[in-house]
């Protein structure tokens, strides 16, 4: 019996979110009294794999079938479901991220498993198996009872945290026995921006809205983000106006993020925007309108024109960084 956790790597490296995921799987496995087994797909150096022991992984299965070189949702699901069956998994854990959303539902069908995504806590009870998850983008929480023998969960990022718990770990190779004729996702081109902080990974986010008044005013915002090591985001109107790329749009129909700090500059805080950021640990709102709904959701607020306030923040952040 086991809890299986899919630990995705990025160019052979794990991220903080991978450790959070293993921490969660280990806590779950401890409650069930079973092993925590991580599945790693592709080439990952041994020191990276060994690091998973610090968060409670008893075993890592390394899957290196050539069919998995490109993300083919069906091939990945086949490999993970096969490993889950071979290890008598009771629960299979994914991150609620790009890959998790692509693969976990297919794994659930293969294992005839009920699935809960955007899970925020350890199970409230094990018999029956009930988890709490975000619904309406965090505007409410639902308690979902899963009735199948095997359960598939995907964890909302930054909801559990990284928890150290050192165990001894074994590394094994696992042949997923894939039939290459069945999988045919053809990767024609890949475009990535290097050196930019990926918004969904960012621990700190600086975000601008219509209160910024013009796309030409983004310089100080980007400077503040660069000083703090933060990602940059924007509200929907700003993306729709073409002031900023759509990839920066956070909110209900854009990206849903949960950083440690979200600084909203000139964003009023429409309910759809708040739905995408309300899980952030600390929220700062800067706005000229004292009635802006963001002040209801924020921890810190500054009333005033962002374009006048931003230079002060940049200056203070520079001074802070110089002293730390």
């Amino acid at each position: 019996m086991s809890v299986i956790v899919y630990t995705e790597n990025w160019d052979g490296k794990f991220k903080k979110s991978s450790y959070e995921l293993v921490s969660y799987a280990h806590a779950l496995a401890s409650e069930l009294g079973v092993e925590t087994i991580a599945i790693s797909i592709g080439q990952v150096p041994e020191d990276q794999l060994n690091a998973l022991a610090n968060y409670g992984a008893n075993k890592v299965l390394c899957v290196k079938n050539p069919e998995l070189a490109v993300l083919d949702n069906a091939a990945y699901a086949s490999a993970i479901a096969r490993a889950a069956k071979a290890n008598n998994a009771q629960v299979v854990v994914f991150a609620n991220n790009f890959t998790g959303k692509a693969v976990a539902p297919r794994v659930a069908v293969k294992l005839e498993a009920g699935m809960a995504n955007s899970v925020t806590t350890l199970p409230l009870s094990f018999s029956p198996f009930v988890v709490q998850k975000n619904i309406f983008n965090g505007k409410a929480q639902g308690n979902l009872q899963i009735n199948s023998n095997i359960k598939v969960l995907s964890l909302a990022q930054n909801s559990f945290g990284v928890k150290e718990s050192s165990v001894s770990l074994t590394i094994e190779n696992f042949d997923a026995q894939l039939d290459s004729s069945k999988f045919n996702t053809e990767l024609i081109e890949k475009n990535t921006v290097s050196g930019k902080i990926i918004l969904t990974d960012a621990e700190l986010v600086v975000s601008g809205g219509r209160g910024m008044k013009s796309p030409d005013n983004w310089g100080p915002l980007e400077e503040l983000a660069a000083i703090l090591g933060a990602g940059t985001a924007c509200s929907r109107p700003v993306a729709d106006e073409g002031w900023r790329p759509h990839s920066e749009h956070v909110g209900q129909t854009g990206k849903v993020i949960a950083p440690n700090l979200y600084i909203a500059l000139g964003i009023s805080g429409a309910i759809q925007h708040l739905a995408g950021v309300s899980s952030s640990k600390v929220i700062v709102a800067v706005n000229t309108d004292p009635e802006a709904p963001f002040f209801e959701a924020a921890d810190y607020g500054i009333l005033g024109d962002v374009n006048k306030i931003l230079p002060k923040l940049v200056e203070a952040a520079k001074a802070f960084k110089a002293h730390s």
């Binding site: 990025w10 083919d72 949702n73 069906a74 699901a77 609620n96 790009f98 959303k101 692509a102 976990a104 539902p105 297919r106 659930a108 069908v109 498993a113 699935m115 009930v130 619904i135 309406f136 505007k139 929480q141 639902g142 308690n143 979902l144 009872q145 009735n147 045919n184 996702t185 053809e186 024609i188 081109e189 890949k190 475009n191 990535t192 921006v193 290097s194 930019k196 990926i198 700190l204 209900q252 129909t253 700090l261 309910i271 309300s278 640990k281 600390v282 709102a285 209801e296 921890d299 810190y300 607020g301 500054i302 005033g304 306030i309 002060k312 923040l313 203070a316 952040a317 001074a319 802070f320």
Partner: protein
């Protein structure tokens, strides 16, 4: 060529969520029901593709799993240009049940391309598209922000963390779409609304598997403490507070 667009009927995104007295259910009184925003973008793209396909795309069918109260939403999809509609007569409990029932229909009524939104704005399941593809044993591509036809071959872009990948898979396939796939959704015109009344809406009884999970209770998020206001003249003080008090930088 035939395209199927899966629609979910959801509360309007501005809805304030309320629970009933014993927190066992959501209070849906007075809620405006709409097409799930991502499904609406999927439909918009499907209609755009059909219009510029010079007859190569024959029909756009929309399908929903729901009881008769979902019909106004289906009629709206017909009013903006979908050719016909299918309603599977079932109030579904989870994504597994939805996907299995759509798969049961598709097995007997094949399509070349199936589109779903990446999630529904109510229960945020994000699972119907992937599950549907797995039930049908066909490819799925997730987080699709671009879909076009290059001759007879569909080409897609999917949003990966920090960039995009241009992808091709053979038909039939499921494309799970997100923001970027289409611009603003279409607004039904009076002529479209009149025509929608004459379009075929097939109602079928469920033929798929049952659910694997069910909601047994709900909770509202904890109320936030009151905002701490900082004087604009001393805005820089924020940085100190974020470091010393909130401890996030």
């Amino acid at each position: 060529m035939k395209i199927l667009v899966c629609l979910s009927n959801v509360p309007d995104t501005t809805t304030k969520i309320k629970l009933n007295g014993d927190q066992s259910a959501l209070d849906m009184t007075g809620v405006q029901w709409v097409i799930n925003p991502w499904d609406e973008l999927a439909l918009t793209r499907a209609l755009d593709l059909k219009e510029k396909s010079e007859g190569k795309i024959d029909t756009i069918t929309v399908i929903t799993v729901g009881e008769s109260l979902t019909e106004p939403t289906i009629r709206k999809a017909l009013a903006v240009g979908a050719d016909d509609a299918v309603r599977i007569n079932l109030n579904p409990t989870d994504d597994y049940e939805v996907a299995s029932n759509i798969a049961a229909w598709v097995k007997n009524n094949p399509y070349n391309i199936i589109l779903t939104g990446i999630e529904s704005s109510d229960y945020n399941g994000s699972a119907v598209g992937g599950m549907l593809a797995e039930f049908l044993k066909i490819p799925s591509v997730s987080s699709v922000s671009f879909l076009d036809m290059e001759g007879d071959k569909p080409l897609m872009k999917r949003e990966i963390p920090g960039g995009t990948e241009t992808i091709r898979v053979p038909m039939p396939f499921v494309a799970i779409v997100q923001k970027g796939i289409a611009l603003d959704p279409r607004i039904p015109a009076m002529r479209g609304i009149m025509m929608a009344r004459k379009k075929e809406l097939t109602v079928v009884e469920p033929a798929g598997e049952g659910s694997k999970s069910t909601y047994i209770g709900f909770a509202m998020p904890k109320a936030k403490a009151k905002v701490k206001m900082i004087d604009a003249e001393n805005a820089g003080q924020l940085i100190t507070l974020l470091h010393e008090e909130a401890k996030v930088i």
